[in-house]
């Protein structure tokens, strides 16, 4: 046994998982019923040529490559370039494409925070989320507490994230669906006038694009 992963990665597994299955990874702990179901289903679908082992691997790599950095690049561009912002508010997927970012086929709508309006996103029915721009959702986004309460009492939920919304600012909650997702275009923090696009994008957090936090430079 070598390395930190608990098993030897030194030989090439080739087109995992078949005919040389090695999964699930031992570091996932005991093989649960649902883990076995996942592996069995993946193998059956590959055997039946519904998808190939290679397509499966590439899909895993694609989602691993998705992070809040892509959404953050778009936000920074929108802050710097008013024309881009207009295009992004009209059509996020097309604006992403313009920057070489694949936002996927499901429409995403950007909702802009202003001094008068604070936006926050949720999916009350399940967990729809702009994953192609900001990666997989955090656990709390999928939780009963967040989904139940943020539509009824968003200010209290935001306070749990340390975000205080003044009474004179309107809070808008956007409930995502399988066919339309949202992302928040946060307000550009004060004191960032001299920063370039790359430096600005580094300021933009995942949570600010969900709308549970504001951006600050302190």
């Amino acid at each position: 046994m070598t390395g930190e992963h608990g098993h030897d990665h030194s030989h090439d597994h080739g087109d995992w998982p078949y005919p040389h299955p090695k999964q699930p990874d031992l570091e996932d702990g005991p093989l649960t019923h649902h883990m076995a179901m996942t592996e069995a289903l993946a193998e059956l679908l590959i055997d039946k040529q519904i998808f190939s082992a290679d397509e499966f691997r590439r899909q895993l790599e694609l989602m691993d490559s998705k992070s809040p950095a892509e959404g953050a690049r778009m936000v920074a561009r929108a802050w710097i370039n008013p024309d881009f912002k207009i295009r992004m508010l009209e059509n996020v997927n097309a604006a992403a494409n313009e920057m070489g970012i694949d936002a996927g086929g499901i429409p995403i709508r950007a909702v802009e925070n202003t001094p008068d309006v604070h936006n926050v996103i949720v999916c009350t029915l399940c967990s729809c989320y702009p994953r192609m721009l900001i990666g997989l959702p955090p656990d709390w986004y999928k939780s009963r507490a967040y989904r139940s309460r943020v539509v009824r009492d968003p200010r209290a939920v935001l306070a749990e994230f340390g975000t205080a919304i003044p009474d004179d600012v309107e809070v808008r909650v956007h409930d995502s669906t399988a066919d339309l997702r949202y992302m928040v275009l946060p307000q550009r923090p004060e004191g960032t006038e001299a920063m370039d696009e790359e430096a600005l994008s580094a300021l933009v957090t995942r949570d600010s694009m969900i709308g549970v936090t504001d951006l600050k430079t302190d």
Partner: protein, 108 residues
């Protein structure tokens, strides 16, 4: 009548802000769903995924974790559509368990 998953506006406790990194098998569930639902295959939609999760019932909804609900729903729907059979799934799951056991013994 409001169904179990339809929880918007209900009372609930504070939001638990603890996060975990997705494990390898969770990412595989996600990848399977994306592939069977993509424009090439169109074997099942996200709406069907949710319908399958809702049909697991209130008990399963609360006892299973997120990706356990997903794989249970995907599997049920692909069986329903005749893409796989319940028998071959059961046999393959036994194979997976046997191989995993052998591998654990080999590396422990």
């Amino acid at each position: 009548m409001r169904r179990h998953h339809d929880m918007g506006g209900q009372a609930a406790g504070p939001v638990d802000l603890t996060e975990h990194d997705h494990s390898a098998w969770e990412k595989r569930v996600d990848a399977i769903m994306r592939l069977v639902g993509d424009d090439t295959r169109k074997l099942m939609s996200v709406d069907e995924l949710r319908r399958g999760i809702e049909e697991l019932g209130p008990g399963a909804y609360d006892e299973l974790n997120y990706y356990e609900r997903w794989i249970a729903s995907i599997t049920n729907i692909l069986i329903e559509k005749g893409v796989i059979s319940i028998d071959e799934l059961g046999r393959r799951m036994e194979d997976v368990k046997t191989r995993w056991q052998a591998q654990s013994e080999e590396t422990s």
